[in-house]
Every structure is written in C-alpha cells, then in structure tokens.
C-alpha cells in the first residue's frame, strides 16, 4: 500500500522568511534594525501609470528633429539670483560623512556636466563638493553641523530641511565608525562617537517661526539666494501650503521610497507617503494659492527612470531629485563586488548598511582605503551618463505626447493601471473615466 501523501510544507504569508529572520535578530540583539535606503516593500509607484501618447487629437513631435526643452528655473519668487538648471533632475542632499569625499566629488562632477545642482547634507560643505559643483544647494538642517555664514553666502541656494535620513520626524544617526577626524572636526564632535542628528530645528518651531527664520537667512544673504523648504511626504497639502506661507521659493517633497542615510527600519517602512500619493495634494495646494509654477516643486523618493521623471512632471512637479539612483550610478551595490558583499553578509542589490562605513564601492564610507576605490572622474562620468539617459527618456515621452517642453506634460496625458494608482495620482483608471475620490463610479 502506498504511503500517505504528505502535504507540501507551507510557509506563512504573514510570517514569511524575512519576518522570521527579523524576529530572531531582534530577539538576539534587543535593538531595532538601522539601515540606509528607502522603503523596500512594494508600494504603489509610477509603474502603475501609463502615458497615452499622441493620437488623432494630439500631434507628436519628431524625435531628434523637433525641440523638447528640459530647462527649469528655481527660485523665481523672491531670490535676486534664481537658479537655472538645464535638466529637471537634481541631486538630493547627502552629507559628507555619510558619503566619502570621493563620492561627493563624483556627484558634483556628474551634475555639473549636465548643468544641474547637487546638495550638501548634514555635515556642512566640503571643498570637494563646492569645487566640483557648479550649482550647489546648501542645507540648513536641525543639527546645524558645519553651518556657517561663509558657506551660506557661497552657496547657490539654501534648503531648509525638515527631513533627515528620509525621516520626516525622526532625526538620524551617524555611527561612530564613520566619525573620522575630518568628520568629527566638521561637526565639532569627539571622534568615534555615535552622532545623533536632531529631529527638530533648535531655534524655531512651527511655520510662523520658520517664516521669520527664512527672513533671517534672506537678510544674511542679502535676498540673493533661492530658499527651498524640504518636507517629508506626510501631509503634503498642508505642508506645501505652509511652506509657501513661510516664504519658500521652492518646495522639496520627499516620498518614502527615497532615503540614503541611516535610520530605523520601522521608520523607513511605516512612516510617510509613497511619492505617487503625495504629488497631487502638493500641487493642489500650490494651485489653490495661485502659486503653481511660481513656487517650484521638486519631488524625490524612488525616481529611477526617465519615465518616472516624466510622470512626476506630468503630475505637476517642476523637477525631481535623485539620491539612491545617483549612488547606484556611481557604483553602489555593483554586482562586480559580489564577493565583498557576501563577506558582509549580504548581496549586491541588497546592501543597505551604509551607516557602518564598510561600503566596498567606496561610497558610503570614511575608511580611506575603501574611499580610494572610487575614482571621482569615472564616477562623475557615470552619473552624467545616467542623468543624460533620464533626460532623453523624459524628452522621448514628452515628444510622444506632443510637448515642446517637459513641463507641458500634464495629468491628462496619464492613465492608471490600478485603482490605487488612479486614486493617488488622480488620473483615470485605464479605459475608464473613473478617478476614485474625484469622479463618480
């Protein structure tokens, strides 16, 4: 007689392998997981949007023949010297400290070659990034590490950031391994300690105070510099409206898929909004105030391709920022380094312990031997190539939609593949006129 058939062992969808391993890790260590990178779980994103392209009612532009402009002005509201970018893609704020000097230089070289900006981070401005960034945005962060009026004056714009490590309210941490002599000196801290980045600014609370703070920054810089306010995507309508009220020239909105610095896994995965659901409320706030295109909107958080760029612009943004993708472009998580990633207990594509300073690619490290592996000239060239592809792809889509400037893309060019994406992006579900929450069934 045959043996009784055995049911195939079945793992829980709720308690999957990752969840089980995290429970075991927590039980062994008693501390939450800290890592870099943005949310890794599947979130509604731009993949669920499609462009309609031209048809009988819309005429496409000829690729390689008819112009499709990509430039963007930032800071036209109040600043005497607004910024003019050649492409609508900027480099997000990432600190020297979290990144090596070579990585910062690579970002500066690549961005400058493409006529766009880079951004400092929590740790001040280095000579490498100022020297190699033709347009540099200087962040004013809660910690004020490295903040000084000389750098404020030699920046091209100032970004008052309410975000740290993709943490709309959580602050950040730079572990002692990365507090080298130079980082310690720039941050006025003892070498080797865990450096905490504060979650609140020390000298203002709330939008009314922020308005006065911005007035101070304008007075110090004689009203010449554009001033950005960067917020995490949590309440984008009200945060954008309040940023406008506080006097921002530019609002930077950071969705939860982005983030490069270290913070708690639970924070990264469970706080904030995916960018897809954040852009339209922010644009609506600008439109309600009559400030759309007058106060520019930069969005970030999971931008990967030119299609993502085009979709963000079509939803009403003026430009996007890339952080994680820029690091990948210069060599982060390269499969060529698989053996070394394996030695760190991970694999290429999954490495996210950027705070530990052991980055084999020489990017998220302060160890001289590791940092020396990154050739800034090569890194810069790779970033420029990547930015060029993003721009070409966005132009290709814009031309297909009949637009002579990428800013002419509009929500009417888009449809959604899922009900969730239709509701978040406020565009119709493909093949219907239905926009959940906006139009009837």
């Amino acid at each position: 007689m045959d043996a009784t058939p055995i049911t195939t062992p079945r793992k829980s969808a709720t308690f999957d392998d990752y969840t089980l391993s995290e429970i075991r890790r927590a039980a062994a260590t008693g501390i939450y997981d800290i890592r870099g990178g943005g949310a890794k779980r599947k979130l509604p994103n731009f993949d669920d949007l499609l462009f309609l392209g031209a048809s009988m009612s819309r005429y496409p532009l000829e690729g390689y023949r008819e112009k499709c402009e990509t430039d963007v002005w930032l800071g036209t509201r109040f600043a005497e010297n607004p910024i003019h970018l050649k492409i609508p893609v900027t480099i997000a704020g990432m600190s020297f400290g979290s990144l090596s000097a070579q990585a910062k230089e690579s970002l500066g070289r690549g961005a400058s070659k493409m006529g766009t900006s880079t951004t400092t981070g929590d740790g001040g401005m280095t000579e490498e990034e100022r020297g190699h960034s033709s347009i540099l945005v200087y962040q004013l962060l809660p910690s004020r590490y490295g903040m000084n009026p000389d750098d404020l004056r030699r920046a091209d714009a100032i970004e008052v950031s309410l975000v740290k490590a993709r943490s709309p309210a959580g602050g950040g941490m730079l572990l002692g391994q990365k507090i080298s002599d130079r980082v310690a000196q720039m941050r006025t801290l003892p070498k080797g300690i865990d450096q905490r980045s504060a979650c609140r600014h020390p000298d203002w609370t709330g939008p009314d105070d922020l308005e006065i703070k911005i007035e101070e920054l304008r007075e110090i810089t004689d009203w010449k510099k554009p001033i950005y306010i960067k917020v995490g995507a949590s309440r984008p309508y009200y945060d954008t409206a309040l940023a406008v009220k506080a006097g921002a020239d530019v609002v930077v909105l950071d969705g939860m898929q982005g983030g490069t610095a270290a913070t708690q896994e639970v924070f990264i995965e469970h706080i904030g909004l995916p960018l897809l659901g954040a852009i339209r409320p922010a644009v609506q706030a600008l439109q309600d105030l009559g400030m759309h295109r007058k106060v520019q909107l930069i969005v970030s958080g999971g931008i990967r391709t030119g299609a993502d760029v085009a979709k963000a612009l079509a939803l009403g943004a003026d430009a996007v920022s890339v952080g994680t993708a820029a690091l990948v472009a210069i060599g982060d998580n390269d499969p060529a380094l698989e053996e070394e990633y394996q030695r760190l207990g991970t694999t290429a594509g999954a490495y996210d312990d950027w705070h530990e300073g052991k980055c084999p690619a020489g990017i998220s490290t302060q160890t001289p031997e590791l940092a020396a592996r990154l050739d800034p000239a090569l890194g810069g060239r790779r970033l420029a190539n990547y930015l060029a592809v993003l721009t070409l792809e966005a132009q290709t889509i814009a031309r297909a939609c009949g637009k002579s400037h990428v800013h002419n893309l509009e929500p009417e060019d888009l449809v959604a593949l899922s009900v969730e994406a239709a509701a978040m992006a406020q565009v119709p579900l493909a093949g219907t006129k239905w926009i959940p929450g906006v139009t009837g069934a």
Partner: protein, 229 residues
C-alpha cells in the same frame, strides 16, 4: 557715527549697508534707533563693527555674527546670536528662547534672564547669563561654555557632548547623561577668563559656580541605556 532710524529706514537697507561696508571704512560704530522688535537686525555681520541698538529686538538679532560687537539696549527675541561665529553680543535685558543656539564662537552676554533652550546645540560659543535660564538649556551642547549666575530649569544639559556648564544657583533637574563634575582650578580660571572678556569680572567669585558636563555614557548607542532617553 552713523545713526539709522528703523522707523524710517527699511531693515533690508540697514543690513545690506552693514554687509557691504568697505574693509577700510571709518564708519565702524553704528547706532540703530526704533528697532521695535524687528527680526534679524544686524544679522550676518562679517566685519569688526560696533552696532548699538536702542530698544528691543525680535528674532535672530545678530544671527551668525562674525567679528562684530552688537549691543542691544533692551530685550531680545528668539535665537539672539544664533550660530554666532565670533565677536560679542550683549543684551542688557532678557533674552527669549534659544539664545546663542548652535553658536560656534564668540561671546554672548545676557544681563537679564534667558528663556528655555539657551545654548541649545552650542558648538563653541561662550554664553554668560546674569539671571537664570529656562528648561532644556544646553540641550545637545557640543562645545563651549555656558555660565549662569542664577538658576537653571529642568533638564539642563540633556544629551550633552563636550560643552561645559557653570551654574551658581539651583538646577531644577539635569537631563540625560548630564552630571555634576568637580570644579577644579582650570575651570575656575576658564570662568574668570570668560567673565573678564564679558566685562563683568570681579562681581562673582568663580568658585561659587558648580560645573556640569557629560557623563559620556550615551556616546555610543547601547540598548541597555534605552531607558535613559
């Protein structure tokens, strides 16, 4: 000496003028009248000027000051001398919250009281308060000296790094990782030096102060210390 009436002259014009004086100017002593609580007066100075302000000022007076001496004959709003790099700021009245916040150098003297978060995240500035300071003063203070003639409110020096705190009166409570430390001769000498620079030496014996600083137990994260936060 030039005298500017802020009831007539726009603030932007005053600050712009002070920022753009030639290096060899003879106009190094300025009087500002009718400040009426305006914000950011004398912010961003970058020259060895003396600016006297006759009346109360709003937020961020002398913010990010370098080299200049700014004297406020009155009280100051939030963030006076915030992120000061060098120079001397003297408030004859009281100061609101976050006085000297994140200051990296120079000397701030407040003759009255300073409100909460005085010296928050200070990074090298010296602050002398002849009155008392409010709660959370010297929060995350990294470097520099805070000298308080009166009392300190709750959670003094919470999460402090390497700043030194000297309080003559009572401390309502100490924040996480802040402890009382021995007041040795070197610390008395430091207090004496700062008071001399502030122009108030001789009024108080440095040995009357108690010293507070970091226990350095929270410098590297340890889950066993989680209850301290």
């Amino acid at each position: 000496m030039p005298e500017v009436d802020l009831g007539i002259t726009p603030l932007r014009e005053l600050n712009g003028t002070l920022h753009n004086l030639p290096a060899d100017t003879n106009e190094t002593h300025w009087i500002v009248d009718n400040p009426a609580g305006r914000h950011a007066i004398a912010a961003g100075l970058d020259a060895p000027l003396k600016v006297e302000i006759n009346g109360p000022v709003g937020y961020y007076c002398a913010g990010m000051n370098k080299l200049a001496t700014v004297q406020v004959h009155g009280s100051a709003g939030v963030g006076v001398a915030e992120n000061m790099m060098s120079g001397f700021v003297h408030v004859s009245g009281d100061a609101s919250q976050a006085a000297g916040a994140t200051g990296r150098g120079g000397l701030l003297r407040v003759d009255g009281n300073a409100s909460s978060r005085c010296g928050i995240s200070m990074k090298g500035i010296d602050i002398v308060v002849k009155g008392s300071v409010g709660h959370m003063s010297a929060f995350m203070a990294q470097a520099g000296n805070l000298i308080v003639f009166g009392d300190a409110g709750d959670a003094l020096g919470d999460s402090i790094y390497e700043a030194r705190l000297f309080v003559r009166g009572n401390v309502k409570s100490l924040g996480a990782d802040c402890i009382e430390k021995a007041m040795r001769d070197e610390h008395k000498a430091a207090v004496h030096d700062i008071l001399t620079r502030a122009g108030i030496n001789g009024q108080i014996d440095p040995s009357e102060f108690k010293r507070y600083g970091s226990a350095r137990k929270l410098y590297n994260f340890n889950v066993d210390n989680a209850g301290a936060y």
